[in-house]
Amino acid sequence: VAVMPIAIWGGLVVIISGVIITRLYLNKMDSEENE
């Protein structure tokens, strides 16, 4: 996995970042609603 070309890593980083950002956003919305 570590030797994957940079172009593949770039795409995967965008996808993983998208999931993390979405998770953080949804958690924030949930906590705001519960307050």
Partner: protein, 536 residues
Amino acid sequence: MENLVALIIVGLGIGLSIWISFYHRASTGSTANFYVAGGGLSPRVNGLAMLGDYASAASFLGVAGAVALQGVDGWWLAIGFFAAWVVVLLTIASPLKNVGKFTAADVLNARFTEHTKKIRTVAMFSTLALCVMYLVPQIVGAGYLFGLLLGWDYLPTVLVTGSLMALFVIVGGMKGTSYNQAIQGSILFGAMLFLLIYGVIHLFGGNPGGVITAAETMVPVKLAAGNAQAVTAAAAAASPGAAVDAVRAIMSDAPSAVTPGVGLRDFANQSSLVIALFLGVLGLPHILIKFYTVSNASDARKSAEITIWGLAVFYAAIFFVGLIAMYALYPDLLKMIVHGEVGKAKNMTMPMLGDVLGGQVLLGVIAAGAMAAMLSTSAGLLISATSSLSHDLYKGVINPNSTDVQELRFAKMGAFFLAIIAIAMSVWLKNENVAMLVGMCFGIAASTFAPVLVLTVWWKGLTSQAVVWGMASGLVFSLLFTFSKFFGLKTMLGLDVLVNPALYSVPIAILVTVVVSMMTSDCGDTEEFMAKAHGK
């Protein structure tokens, strides 16, 4: 018959979809049930339905085909689709759900109480233009698919597909369509993962690293097709692997399938495509309406979470499946491009890979998945278009005192007529590239709904007059440049005609919206609307 087994599987898939639509026919008794399933879908069903809706023919067929032909650059289309979904979620999904309206025009009218008829009318024309334009690539893709399976002519194929999608919507409404989309989303997802795992086992002895090694060896098909010596060597090779090695031996300095830049266009065309992809989903009504089909904002977020995980795995897997397809079909894809069958090479990679890996059965499953993607996306689009037609035009402008039954009858008639228009355009545009057509729809959406929806929920200075003029100018200029492209014009208004209208029409729409806002004063019920939209 040549592909009988595959055809039976596709037929069973379509039969299941029709049965689901009939099963849920009782749920179309009211407009709320017809448009948004009464807001009563579970988050899981809605999440899977959004996945099925989003992962349309462009993703399932187009992106895999683009990767198979030009390598990693084709994947950036998928990354664009994925990133755009995150932008939708972060910017407008929750505010729109909080406002709780059916169509984009309803959202705008929830804030603005003046010029409501003008806003509804412009929004309706934008929705209709978008939905019909988006239906065309789905039908064209289905045309190629049936052609591959049956050897049918294009015209009967298009008539069958168009009729089926209208039937889904007229009979099943949003509930039937959503359950179909949930099942079809699952089929697509399963087919994608199966192709990935089975392809790695069958072609690379179960070693995933073998796919990367092969990708670093392969000269992208698009480049190799320009070298006559390479084409001859690939045709003479005994196996796809041997063809890959033979082409690499001849084109030793050529980029590989993981070298960025092979499929990029010039700066203006590339910028236009990026703007369209990034902003387009913000304005696509068939995606936005999905946030209304659950009962509350919390369930909308649960749906969104299921969808984001599904999309992440789907768009990561699609790249590796595209590389596997390039390897497995290398000589075949080269031959198709040399013989001018570029459309087939771009759009039929997935079913052809299914045929190579698993014969008739896998071809049938992939074709059923692809057909499902096209039908579910088409049905979702048609629901949005008919919602807008009956709700914004009939109820909002023509007959404000209409009953639910009258509105529903108008919606179902609308689905029928829109399907006819889409079929006619599919016949006219049958030689256009599917991915390019979808990109154009994104460009129109980015020029119409995207700027005004974002500004409506985030900018207190926006005025009702600016909404009308902003959307209208975006619609006119995006359609002007889109149809200039269809008619083969090189320039329009002294500007080069690009593959996508967004580079011109998006800045025009934003500029007009901001300037008119500064010149006029009706900002609507700003405080009340903002408080509701942001849950304050």
